[in-house]
């Protein structure tokens, strides 16, 4: 069965989704989804272990047709790591979601939530695991379509407009990627990524390939919400059901980032993308702008959800910044930050879901004094917040440290200073919430708190604990990311 693992990674959630629809009962659908998510995590972990042990990529031929003509699933250190992140976050979030879902969705529609989440997961895992460029587009659309419908399940009517806006932007992004892949196919006659990388050697001056690079980078930037293409993100995250936000914030943009990395380093190669086309001159300023502008906007948000959403845009900036150094260290920093931000953000959004149930609002003003009334939940928020800032002994520190080192290595000390400065902005917006929650007396007219479901708080703490553990034992993530980065840089140059 070992040889079938790459296919199982996609097949398990793909088949679990229709089972949820067939069974329909909320509890049954939840049980199926939880089983599927945890077994996917097991598959992802064993894939990662195998890749790290063997040191080379695992190739799987779908339908027994050999690449480059057949579809290949290709697992290496980079995407095995992303697979573990996506499945791990899904497993925690889906396990926690039954309790809080009843707040936002009528029970008879729960099965649709679970089916859509599993389909979204199928798409994300498929995008990650595939070695075929066109497959990326197909899985991208599977994940996007289910994400739109998940967002539209939000309680208020604004969820509908948010989903619509995301749909329009997302479809434009997906179609740009499709066009870019078409241009690549036209120039090379191949769709297999490894084969493409070989055939693209020496085609630096080919206009078709240059246009393909432009379209793919643009499309991926829309999907990963790179500033200034992020306008769909704050509303989508703010008005989706809380569990959907916790799931999407940690996975969807991260996989889009992975796709960008894979195309830039694994298909086009650093020589073409950075030395010949100077993509870093576009991506680095945009990344810095994202870090500063989104963090500044986050400071002025009155709603906790929107604040966290804008903070996500800023964190995406850090990841793209790491990529734009086009060095082994920078790339490793970006990948570690991908892991860290996934853990931190889904932890914070789970806390936010618990607050929404406990207080009945996510307005920061309404959170006065809840630190003492919901100590366990808010403590998880503090851990997540500290990690978001990048305080030592949390995961956030690890990636920022690598990013600063990468900036210094590239001789860009102003960039290193800007990484530190933008972290100060994070201090401001995290402190605002901490101050209101812990140091202000509860409002006189504050109603009774409802106890948030135990499963929800527990899940938030699992992720908060992960943020602390991986912050202390930095080797686990950093070494995998460095290996992945080294592999990409060697292949790409």
């Amino acid at each position: 069965m070992d040889a079938q693992l790459p296919a199982l990674q996609i097949v398990i959630p793909l088949l679990a989704a229709p089972l949820c629809v067939a069974l329909r009962a909320s509890r049954a659908a939840w049980l199926i989804a939880v089983t599927a998510c945890w077994s996917s995590l097991a598959v992802a972990i064993s894939l990662l272990r195998r890749v790290l042990a063997e040191g080379e990529a695992i190739s799987y031929h779908v339908g027994g047709h050999a690449p480059p003509h057949g579809i290949e699933l290709r697992v290496d250190a980079l995407n095995a790591f992303v697979l573990v992140i996506v499945t791990g976050i899904s497993a925690v979030v889906v396990s926690a979601s039954r309790a809080s879902l009843s707040e936002e969705l009528p029970e008879k529609r729960h099965y649709l939530y679970f089916a859509a989440t599993l389909l979204c997961m199928t798409g994300l895992l498929g995008m990650t695991v595939t070695g075929d460029a066109f497959n990326v587009f197909v899985f991208l659309e599977i994940s996007s379509l289910s994400a739109y419908s998940l967002i539209s399940m939000g309680r208020t009517r604004r969820a509908l407009t948010a989903a619509y806006q995301y749909l329009v932007m997302g479809t434009l992004g997906g179609t740009f990627i499709l066009l870019g892949i078409g241009l690549l196919y036209m120039a090379t006659g191949s769709l297999n990524m490894a084969d493409l990388a070989e055939r693209l050697c020496g085609m630096e001056s080919n206009r078709t390939v240059q246009a393909a690079l432009a379209f793919i980078v643009l499309g991926a930037s829309i999907k990963l919400a790179l500033f200034p293409l992020h306008i769909w993100l704050p509303n989508a995250y703010a008005f989706a059901p809380a569990m959907v936000t916790a799931f999407l914030a940690a996975t969807a943009t991260k996989v889009a980032f992975y796709v960008l990395v894979r195309f830039l380093f694994g298909v086009f190669g650093t020589d073409f993308a950075f030395d010949a086309m100077h993509l870093d001159r576009v991506l680095m300023p945009l990344a810095l702008l994202a870090m500063f502008s989104a963090s500044t906007v986050a400071i002025f948000q009155r709603d906790l959800r929107r604040m966290l959403a804008f903070s996500s845009v800023a964190q995406i900036g850090y990841m793209v910044l790491g990529l734009s150094f086009a060095s082994e260290l920078g790339l490793a920093g970006g990948i570690v930050h991908l892991f860290n931000h996934a853990v931190i953000k889904s932890c914070l959004f789970l806390v936010m879901a618990a607050i929404a149930i406990g207080v009945g609002s996510t307005n920061i003003e309404d959170l006065r004094g809840i630190g003492r009334r919901m100590p366990l939940t808010m403590a998880a928020f503090v851990v997540g917040g500290l990690s978001l800032i990048g305080v030592p002994l949390t995961v956030g520190f690890v990636s920022k440290w690598i990013l600063v080192r990468a900036a210094l290595e590239a001789g860009l000390w102003p960039v290193a200073a800007m990484i530190l400065a933008s972290s100060l902005l994070a201090v401001v917006y995290v402190w605002r919430v901490v101050e209101v929650a812990w140091f202000q007396a509860p409002a006189e007219d504050a109603g009774a708190l409802r106890r948030p479901p135990l499963g929800l708080v527990l899940s938030a703490w699992v992720l908060a604990a992960a943020a602390l553990v991986f912050g202390v034992f930095t080797d686990a993530t950093a070494s995998v990311a460095t290996r992945a980065a080294r592999m990409l840089m060697e292949a790409g140059s």
Binding site: Y148, V168, L172, T175
Partner: protein
């Protein structure tokens, strides 16, 4: 950029038309139509790419040597299905937006959002 490559002009014009409609129109249904035109332009791009001059349908038969490339067509079968799914989902969202707001004009809907329910749930 001669007459021999006229199909790329059609693709580019269709694509820009679609993109313009998506950006400039406030009506949500018109936006979806624009999105469809945009997607169709890319489908057309793939399909014309597969055509080999003088080639016939890619079914092996006696008397024919040159065949068109079937791969882009197969890929577009998937892309068309994706397009149909996107359109259906977008239209269903518009139906629900119309039920919730009583309008499908983006600026009217946005104006309504500003003066009611600012926080969300």
């Amino acid at each position: 950029m001669s007459a021999g490559h006229y199909q790329y002009w059609i693709v580019a014009v269709l694509m820009m038309t679609g993109l313009y409609v998506v950006i400039a129109k406030g009506n949500m249904i018109k936006k979806i139509i624009g999105l469809n035109v945009f997607q169709v332009s890319v489908i057309l791009f793939y399909v014309t790419m597969g055509k080999v001059e003088g080639g016939t349908a890619p079914i092996i038969a006696e008397g024919f040597e040159v065949y068109s490339n079937p791969v882009p067509h197969v890929l577009m079968l998937t892309a068309i299905v994706v397009g149909v799914a996107t359109t259906a989902l977008a239209l269903s969202l518009v139906v629900r937006i119309h039920e919730a707001y009583g309008s499908v004009e983006e600026d009217e809907v946005l104006a309504m959002e500003d003066d009611s329910c600012g926080g969300g749930g």
